[in-house]
Assembly symmetry: C2
Homo-oligomer: 131 residues x 2
């Protein structure tokens, strides 16, 4: 099938699929007209990639996961290792964002938000550790 069809099936933009070929994640055949010809196995790979990306895995993680997926002799421990690492990263981000949210919420709540210039948000941002 052509790139448009596989794009629709996988939900990935054609641009993204071309990019994935560029970096060697997928290797479709080529027809006489130069068009990419995707096999079912290519579509399944792209589907896998789309799901992994949607879970926030980096492209390099995806590359490793794909290799493990293809490897019938893999150890599930290797997969789990990658997933746990990524999970930790996600949790770190959530922690960071939650801290930002809490601070920002405090400032927003303290600000009356009218047409006067007095503003606890700006005061909070201007707080100095400078000597």
């Amino acid at each position: 099938m052509n790139i448009g069809e596989v794009a629709e099936k996988t939900g990935l933009p054609a641009k993204t699929i071309r990019y994935y070929e560029d970096i060697g994640l997928v290797r479709p055949l080529r027809g006489d007209n130069g068009y990419r010809q995707f096999r079912d196995s290519d579509a399944h790979k792209l589907n896998f990639l789309g799901r992994a990306r949607a879970l926030g895995f980096s492209i390099e993680d995806c590359r490793d996961l794909l290799a493990l997926w293809e490897d019938q002799d893999r150890a599930s421990a290797d997969v789990r290792q990658i997933a746990k690492g990524h999970l930790a990263e996600i949790e770190r981000k959530i922690t960071d964002l939650s801290a930002m949210r809490d601070t920002l919420q405090g400032l927003v709540r303290a600000c009356h938000g009218d047409d006067r210039p007095d503003c606890p948000i700006l005061n909070g941002l201007a707080e100095t550790g400078l000597s």
Copy 2:
């Protein structure tokens, strides 16, 4: 003061400070030797920028916040608007990441993670919406 000193005071890397000058967020003077000369007001601006960036505000938000900070006749409502918009963005990110975490946690828990190839994580990623 020179860039090294203001970098230490604000906690921002010198590279970042040069970048901020490049994009017009701060405009230090120049000495006869070509070195940037930062006034206290520059250091305070950079401190403000560092705090706003640490709360995840984009550079363009920072630019607007800085302008409001400098404007004695600002309306605090304008500041609050920016902050609330950013807060909503943060909350959206937290929601997205939490969904990823939940899915991933489910997969990781289901995976025994030993030397056998059978792996619920890979199975989960391979699940297809393809016909």
